[in-house]
């Protein structure tokens, strides 16, 4: 391609690899000025390390309801885990029935190793957040562009639906849908299905926020220019607007993941979760159900609370930092 070859050196002054390196270095320099992003990544990193530690130290079957006990000895409400029925539950719950492996964080009343539950539950909860968050962000962004860019009757309809649904507490709608879903599925519901239910409302926030950004951006001169030069709608949206809105959408994605996890834990704490899973919300549910707080079983209820708090604060810091990154006007330090 002799004709195109001479233009290449003009386009990039250095080789592609050093370009990426420069970009990475620039990103790192920027990150140093944005402590929120760092704090967010560190907190989420702690959770990943905790998960990795749990996965190394335990076996998956430890997270089953006293899987190592014969079926007739499996704990239930009437027949709790033997260690919890004893005088000194703490001593026994940490050593019970497992000579080879110590229960580092003890066991819960159902006989599950708490650390092993985490190594299953953390990815499950994060999966719920990622599925619902990404579905919500993608659908919301598409609707936002349709509404904001094309306007008219579609815009009015989308705005009306969003305004209406946002007036109703989301948890109420999710509760009703979850019950319906569970009944249709014969009382069973996997945590993936729970994520899909949450995704049904997860597009509301992104639609509203991205739409207002699209409205502002539509007035910008480069978008006008693109339209005047004969680009059609999808072209303008994909080539001109999307690249510029991407940081904003990514920052909103973090928020969407966070609120999806919040919704899932809320539903699970109410007893509307996947009972075969070990998600963080189900741990909270079992703690409430068995009254572990008033019984003083602190080793059971405190780890999930700590993990959830770190997770939410991490996501919050990350989204704040990304907001700053997406919106350069906020970048000045006050």
């Amino acid at each position: 391609m002799a004709t195109t070859a001479p233009t290449e050196p003009l386009a990039t002054s250095s080789s592609p690899t050093s370009d990426t390196l420069n970009q990475a270095a620039g990103l790192w320099r920027y990150m140093k000025r944005n402590p929120s992003i760092i704090a967010g990544f560190v907190l989420l990193g702690i959770i990943i390390l905790f998960w990795a530690f749990g996965t190394l130290m335990t076996a998956p079957e430890d997270a089953k309801d006293l899987a190592f006990a014969p079926p007739n000895k499996r704990p239930s409400l009437q027949n709790p885990h033997p260690c919890y029925a004893s005088e000194n539950p703490r001593e026994l719950c940490f050593a019970y029935d497992n000579e080879e492996r110590q229960h580092l964080l003890g066991t819960d009343r159902l006989g599950k190793d708490i650390l092993a539950s985490f190594s299953q539950g953390i990815p499950q909860t994060i999966m719920i957040g990622l599925i619902a968050g990404s579905l919500g962000t993608v659908v919301g962004t598409i609707l936002a562009f349709v509404a904001g860019y094309y306007g008219g009757i579609l815009d009015a309809a989308i705005r009306f639906i969003v305004d209406t649904l946002q007036t109703i507490p989301g948890l109420l709608i999710l509760i009703i849908i979850t019950i319906a879903w569970r009944e249709v599925g014969g009382g069973e519901m996997t945590f993936i299905q729970l994520a899909l239910i949450i995704a049904m409302l997860a597009w509301l926030g992104p639609t509203r926020v991205v739409r207002s950004q699209v409205l502002v951006m539509k007035q910008r001169s480069y978008v006008e220019m693109a339209r005047l030069s004969g680009m059609n709608g999808p072209e303008v949206i994909l080539k001109e607007m999307m690249p510029n809105l991407m940081p904003f959408i990514v920052a909103n994605f973090v928020l969407a993941v966070s609120s999806a996890i919040l919704a899932s834990i809320g539903l699970e704490a109410l007893g509307l979760g996947d009972f075969s899973s070990n998600t963080l919300g189900m741990m909270i549910y079992h703690n409430i159900w068995y009254g572990s707080l008033v019984n003083g079983w602190w080793w059971w209820w405190s780890p999930p609370i700590v993990v959830i708090v770190i997770l939410f604060i991490g996501l919050f810091m990350l989204s704040r930092g990304m907001d700053e990154w997406a919106n350069p006007r906020l970048r000045r330090r006050f």
């Binding site: 507490p169 966070s258 707080l293």
Partner: protein, 337 residues
């Protein structure tokens, strides 16, 4: 055009209520769950059983009694016409208690808890956020106190509630573990001792809502104030020689409070969602607990009634805030809003 704006806003209000209630009517019915069968199972669990051939007849009688055997459209029309009169019929699981009676009993508890704690958090958070952004204020103290609240704002109310129960009720034994009042006392609203007890029981749930939401308001106010300080009128206030405090409170805070009020209207549904879980954690006798019990028992009429009341209350609060907003802020006219 004030009338035009009002009419449009009220039209929206009616539409929101209509859509929400329709949604609320049809969704539980698509579950395929039979509320009468659930009720009979409940009775069976309590030891009340009947012969198998009577069972079908019993279900039929009950369905006729509650109108559940009629076509869905007719049920829907009846529901709409009675809902506007706040008549939601009788509870299925707590027959013959009327739904409106259940709601009337629970509503004061929830409103008392929510209004006080939300307003308290709003006022404290807004003031704190304002001072934090003010260069001349007692900043140092607030810079130490407020940031932990920013982090708490990321934590769900009910988790904070669990921690508070353990700290203040279980360990320190300062406050009761849950409930609206001690189970051994009879409610007597004229008795001062009873009122004191109710107050003590409401402290922990209120505290978990307040602590978890102060940071939210403080963050919003802080960023609003920072924007305000770049405005020309702030420069003018300084040029006029106004005292710093006067410029701060009369010029900056007054303007920054307005968007906060809008945020209050917008976040109300979230606050209510959180409060439902707080009531569940604390066993608080509010509307959240009624709803939770209705959901687990598939009590259609109670679910409908409670959701209707909550949606109505939120939509009404939003309407009020939207209507008074242009009065608070002369820059916004009714027509452009």
């Amino acid at each position: 055009m004030t009338v035009d704006y009002l009419a449009r806003r009220i039209g929206m209000f009616v539409a929101v209520i209509f859509v929400a209630t329709s949604f609320n009517f049809f969704l539980p019915r698509f579950t395929g769950q039979d509320p009468i069968a659930t009720r009979l199972e409940l009775l069976a669990a309590e030891g009340v059983t009947t012969r198998a051939e009577d069972y079908a007849a019993l279900i039929e009688t009950y369905n006729a009694k509650f109108g559940l055997d009629r076509p869905l459209v007719l049920q829907y029309l009846t529901y709409l016409s009675t809902a506007v009169r706040f008549d939601f019929g009788e509870s299925i699981t707590k027959y013959p208690t009327r739904v409106s009676e259940l709601i009337n009993q629970a509503m004061p508890w929830s409103i008392g808890l929510l209004v006080t704690s939300t307003l308290l958090a709003f006022v404290v958070g807004t003031l704190g956020g304002a001072v934090l952004a003010w260069q001349h204020g007692p900043k140092a103290a607030f810079e130490l106190i407020l940031p932990p609240f920013f982090l708490l704002a990321a934590v769900p109310y009910y988790l904070l509630g669990l921690i508070l129960i353990w700290l203040l009720a279980f360990q320190a034994k300062l406050l009761p573990l849950g409930g609206g009042y001690a189970p051994t006392t009879l409610p007597d609203w004229s008795d001062f001792g009873f009122l004191w007890e109710v107050f003590k029981h409401s402290l922990l749930p209120a505290l978990s809502i307040v602590l978890a939401s102060i940071g939210f308001w403080a963050l919003g106010m802080r960023s609003m104030m920072i924007t305000m300080q770049g405005e020309d009128y702030m420069l003018q206030a300084e040029a006029k020689g106004l005292t710093k405090a006067r410029a701060f409170f009369r010029y900056a805070v007054r303007n920054a409070v307005l968007p906060q009020t809008t945020a209050l209207a917008l976040t109300l549904p979230h606050v209510v969602s959180g409060a439902i879980l707080v009531e569940r954690i604390f066993g608080y006798p509010g509307i959240g607990r009624v709803l939770y019990e209705a959901i687990t028992g598939f009590d259609y009429f109670v679910i409908q009634g409670v959701v209707f009341i909550i949606v109505l209350a939120i939509a009404f609060a939003m309407l009020v805030i939207d209507v008074i907003y242009p009065l608070l802020d002369p820059r916004i006219s009714y027509s452009s809003a």
